[in-house]
């Protein structure tokens, strides 16, 4: 592309040009900002003759217009509520915002955005300001430093003032967020903040109220509170140092396993506290001694089996009484047990749904799997890696990956049909094999359970052998969980999946299927066999779960021994070809998920199971950490760790939590609780405890409403029917909205691409113009004239194109084209849009070019048109005050006419009359376009949704769309 070859000279202009100018120019300023004293920075600001305080100081913009601006402004930004300020800044603000209508548009549509809203808003503003700064002082030619440092400083101060004023209008909390979000150094932020505070206090002294003072104080103390909470959380953060060390050596993807482990640990601590606090403690307070039969004693094997002595403690369901505990307060054990478990489950569900949803939003909605492979590698440098060796290794890995991706791209060929069939056959075969393995495991567990059930008796006192026999099932289950996944990994080696991701997904799906089917068989056995045979069956189930948890723990330790230590030994000593093993995040996380499922199922049968789980996870953390640092090497591939994390949370929710929940719910609703033990003895099912309670309540006056709710809401089908109906409708609506946005994004993306093409075309034109310019230059006497003629010349060229596009006034213009500027013959075939734009820009630029340096004149054509318009305003402000709003197309026809007149005059003054007539044509066309356009501005805001990602790009896209609307509809 030509632009590139042109290098340094063209680039700045290019980047300030229209497409994406909002963001782009912000980058510009951000990077020039720190070195404001730099020569180059000065050069940047050198040419533009206007500074915004000229503009700002100019009050007579026409009252009606100002009104309309206020109207536009106050809706979106939401920060003009305190707009009494001086008229000058009012204007200035308007002036600055008109240039980023898309921004305001965007903000308007996102007025519901939660905490991030103000910051996003501010950033847009800041960007808007910086953009303006940049576009006002385009790539200057150092020889034309017409602008003193003073003016620059003024300009900058002015913008700062705007920022400050906006910040003042925000609420305290929003302001802090906004300031924090400014990409500036602490020093600058400090400066801004102090100004804001000064401004605020000066204003407050005027309108001081007690209420404002109070609320200020309250919010201050809240903020302090928030800070100290954050600090406290930081202090409590477990394993900070270890985590950092792991992240420093193994990178984020391995670290995510430990983060997940820690998260589960916190989860379990929470559930332990809930269960212990509301179920166990009250019981222990009222009745501290467990009623253990005299012939049962602690033998040691209980720690493994959970049977015997433990059976009579508060460990299991059977240990709880059904009485209402009488003390200082009455405590109904039945209700407490039921509601604690129920509320715990609901809280878990909500927490999971929220973390899953937010993680999905962050990691999936925005991620685009199809592209960005190269960027994936480049943007994935793990800054947290600090270990020298790890850095070297990672560099190596990255290089290998880059080379791989290159060669893949180079030799990506289509597979033949037979190859495809072969691949398909292999997949099918292995899937059948793995499913067969799963089914086999499930069946063997079922028969094993049958066998165990025949052996077991309901006696209170088991022999040691009997007790040891109970260990058979958990042993086999855990063994399967350890061995079968190894087979799956082996299968994976033969399958040759095309992408790493697919390979992992296949592995995950198979493992989850295995684990879930084993658990399903066990649950079936418990519900249907154990529940009928034993007198205190809930405790039996609790024991079984206890054993599973314990054995799972033991096998996890064995797993890290075999999985990591052994393969390390094999890899380093016996078969160096295999190398040091990597830490298999997926397998390890799945093990954690399985363990957590056990704990959830067990919560009803053994309320203190979370305590065991806490212990288990705590030990596991250290074991895994040691195993990792001793045996493993950093992963060779930097996978999408964040996405895997999302998948894991989703897995934790969908089969695991939902499965456990339905199991517990089935138990509570359908199964009859055991007669001899537990809090629910004597009831038909657990849930009827609520019915009993409601009946009791019915007798108490004043609580009729609870009874009513129970009868008419909880127990009525129509209520649930309606609720589901409403939810389905809402989901459908949201789905439609999402679809619409997807389409919109595609369109906007297309427009950006089109803009890019337009721009490169324009640049081409300008460059060719520039090339034929030198021979003209010699004829000019003064540089001023040179500039002028250049402006006229390029103007004429632009006109040619506009005319070609519109097939009007062709001859006239051809006559004007004396400069020998080559007009490509294929011009008429290129899109009319481009030419119209070009014409328009030229028309504006003609004014600009008169005043600006010649060498930058060409590049200015492509520049943000605000600049030109700002200058025009400068020149004609007495007559042509409506220039600016036109840009945002809210201008009324009146203004257009006024302006057109002004421009006609101007054209007549400065240019040959033929040009002026052409210009008139152009202006008329544009006026029509804008008139046509206006009705569209009403629906426009609704058309611009708030994209979830709110990425800057989309904002820019919106900007483009609006700009494009203008032209598309016009021409």
């Amino acid at each position: 592309m030509t632009s590139y070859s042109n290098g340094a000279f063209f680039n700045p202009a290019y980047h300030d040009s229209e497409t994406l100018e909002i963001d782009r120019s912000s980058s510009k300023t951000h990077h020039t900002n720190p070195y404001a004293g730099d020569d180059r920075a000065v050069a940047h600001y050198s040419t533009g003759p206007t500074s915004s305080d000229d503009v700002a100081g100019r009050v007579p913009w026409g009252g009606w217009q100002e009104e309309s601006w206020k109207g536009r402004e106050s809706i979106p930004m939401g920060l003009m509520s305190t707009r009494p300020g001086s008229p000058s800044w009012q204007h200035d603000l308007n002036h600055s915002t008109f240039q980023i209508p898309p921004g305001s548009q965007y903000d308007r549509s996102t007025s519901v955005r939660l905490p991030s809203a103000p910051s996003g808003n501010m950033t847009m503003r800041w960007r808007g300001i910086t953009m303006r700064r940049m576009s006002m002082f385009p790539n200057g030619n150092p020889t034309h430093i017409a602008f003193t440092e003073d003016a620059i400083r003024n300009e900058m101060e002015n913008e700062e003032q705007n920022l400050v004023k906006e910040l003042v209008a925000l609420s305290t909390r929003d302001r802090i967020l906004a300031i924090r979000d400014l990409p500036m150094s602490v020093d600058e932020k400090k400066h801004i903040r102090s100004q804001v505070l000064a401004f605020k206090s000066s204003k407050q002294s005027r309108q001081f109220t007690c209420f404002a003072d109070c609320s200020e104080n309250v919010s201050l103390s809240f903020r302090r509170c928030g800070y100290s909470l954050r600090s406290a959380r930081q202090t409590l953060e477990l394993w900070h140092g270890i985590m950092k060390e792991i992240g420093g050596t193994f990178g984020t993807s391995v670290l995510s396993y430990f983060v997940f482990l820690k998260w589960l640990l916190m989860f379990n601590i929470f559930s332990f506290l809930v269960n212990f606090g509301f179920i166990t403690i009250p019981l222990l307070v009222f009745d501290p001694s467990p009623n253990i039969p005299p012939n049962v004693s602690f033998r040691g094997l209980e720690i493994l089996t959970g049977a015997g002595y433990f059976q009579y403690t508060v460990m299991y369901y059977g240990g709880y009484s059904n009485e209402t505990l009488k003390g200082p307060v009455e405590y109904n054990m039945q209700l407490a047990y039921f509601f604690t478990i129920a509320i715990y489950m609901v809280l878990c569900g909500i927490a999971l749904i929220f973390s899953m949803a937010s993680s999905f939003k962050k990691n999936y909605v925005l991620a685009d799997p199809s592209s960005n492979k190269a960027w994936q590698l480049l943007s994935s440098w793990d800054f947290s890696i600090t270990n020298e060796k790890a850095v070297r290794q990672r560099k190596n890995n990255l290089r290998v990956q880059l080379k791989e991706s290159l060669s893949e791209k180079a030799q990506r060929e289509l597979l033949t049909l037979s190859e495809k069939l072969k691949h398909f056959g292999v997949y099918l075969g292995f899937w059948l094999l793995s499913t067969g393995l799963t089914v086999g495991c499930g069946a063997s567990i079922y028969y094993l359970c049958q066998y165990e059930q025949q052996q077991a008796t309901d006696a209170a006192n088991w022999s040691l052998l009997q007790e040891a026999q109970t260990l058979l099932v958990p042993f086999v289950v855990s063994l399967m969980n350890l061995v079968v996944p190894l087979f799956y990994s082996l299968f994976n080696k033969f399958e040759h999946y095309s992408s790493h991701r697919r390979q992992i997904y296949a592995l995950v799906v198979r493992n989850v299927l295995l684990k879930m089917s084993i658990l399903a068989v066990l649950c079936y056995y418990w519900m249907n066999v154990v529940a009928k045979k034993f007198s205190c069956w809930e405790s039996m189930v609790g024991q079984a779960l206890y054993r599973l948890v314990i054995f799972d723990f033991l096998f996890l330790m064995l797993g890290s021994f075999f999985g990591e230590f052994l393969s390390n030994v094999i890899g380093t000593r016996l078969l160096p070809r295999l190398g040091v093993p990597e830490f298999d995040v997926a397998r390890n996380v799945l093990e954690l998920i399985y363990a957590q499922t056990l704990a959830w199922i067990g919560i009803y049968f053994s309320p203190l199971l979370p305590a065991i789980q806490i212990f288990k996870l705590f030990i596991l953390f250290y074991i895994k950490k040691v195993s990792l640092t001793r045996n493993c090497q950093p992963p060779r591939r930097s996978g999408r760790a964040a996405q895997m994390q999302t998948i894991f949370i989703a897995l934790l929710f969908l089969p695991c939590f939902v499965g456990a929940l339905s199991m517990v719910a089935y138990t509570a609703w359908i199964l009859t609780p055991s007669e001899q033990c537990g809090p629910f003895r004597g009831l038909n099912n657990t849930f009827s405890v609520v019915g009993v309670w409601i009946d009791d309540l019915g007798g108490i006056p004043g609580s009729q409403w609870v009874v009513w709710i129970y009868q008419n809401v909880i127990k009525s089908e129509i209520f649930y029917f309606l609720i589901s109906l409403i939810i389905i409708v809402i989901i459908y609506i949201f789905w439609q909205v999402t679809q619409g946005r997807k389409q919109l994004i595609v369109l906007l993306r297309q427009q950006i691409v089109n803009e890019g093409k337009d721009k490169s075309f324009l640049l081409d034109k300008l460059q060719s113009l520039q090339k034929c310019q030198p021979d003209k230059k010699s004829k000019q006497k003064t540089q001023k004239k040179d500039e002028h003629s250049l402006g006229g010349q390029s103007n004429s060229n632009a006109m040619v194109q506009a005319l070609l596009a519109r097939q009007q006034l062709e001859e006239e213009e051809e006559g004007r084209d004396t400069g020998g500027v080559p007009v490509p013959s294929d011009i008429s075939t290129s899109s009319a849009l481009i030419q119209a734009m070009l014409a328009r820009q030229r028309a504006y630029d003609q004014d600009g070019d008169e005043r600006l340096s010649s060498s930058s004149a060409l590049s200015q054509a492509v520049q943000a048109r605000q600049m030109a318009e700002g200058q025009e305003t400068d020149e004609y402000y007495s007559t042509d005050f409506s220039e600016n709003p036109i840009n945002t197309s809210s201008a009324v026809a009146q203004a257009m006419q006024a302006r057109q007149r002004a421009e006609e005059e101007d054209g007549a003054d400065d240019l040959p009359s033929s040009v002026s007539s052409v210009m008139m044509q152009v202006m008329q066309a544009r006026q029509i376009a804008e008139e046509e356009d206006r009705p569209q501005w009403v629906p426009a805001p609704t058309q611009n949704p708030s994209p979830a990602g709110s990425s800057a790009l989309i904002q820019a896209m919106l900007a483009r769309q609006q700009a494009q609307n203008e032209y598309d509809d016009g021409y």
Binding site: H15, S116, T123, T252, S380, R399, S951
Partner: protein
Amino acid sequence: MGTTASQLGKDLLSEYQELTFLTKQEILLAHKRFTELLTKDEKELQNTRVPTERILTLPELKSNPFRKRICHVFSTSEQKDGSLTFEDFLDLLSAFSDSATLEIKSHYAFRIFDFDDDGTLDRGDLEKLVNCLTGETDETRLTRDEMRQLIDNILEESDIDKDGTVNLSEFQHVISRSPDFVSSFKIVL
């Protein structure tokens, strides 16, 4: 010479808390680590600049391939020598902290990757970036052909408006699509 904690006044501390994404502990820790870098005489002075070489002795930065760029970007020094004051240092940690927004992170990442400070990532920048990632020595470097191809790929994927360079908004667009970025653009003291 007092303890490090008392050197930071309470007001200053809360101000830093307000202006950065750091918590109190993190600021105090940062101050402690920063003071350790100072020589004895410098400790007496206010707002001392610590030269790049000494900053880079921090283990968190020592082996980072972008260490020089990081210092350069966060330095407010007039001479552009990459020396950092304590506030610059806080800025650095704030941008690399856990709670910094994607917006801030991608902005600074862009500036770090923009080796010639011209506001866009052009081919030269991308080449340097790739070299930083794969190692600077001759045998680790990609060949000229590979490099060209790689950069073509990158530009094809991310240069939305096809101007031959990647600008900030395009960069942020790309970054927003690779969710790992937030977790990997992180330096913890």
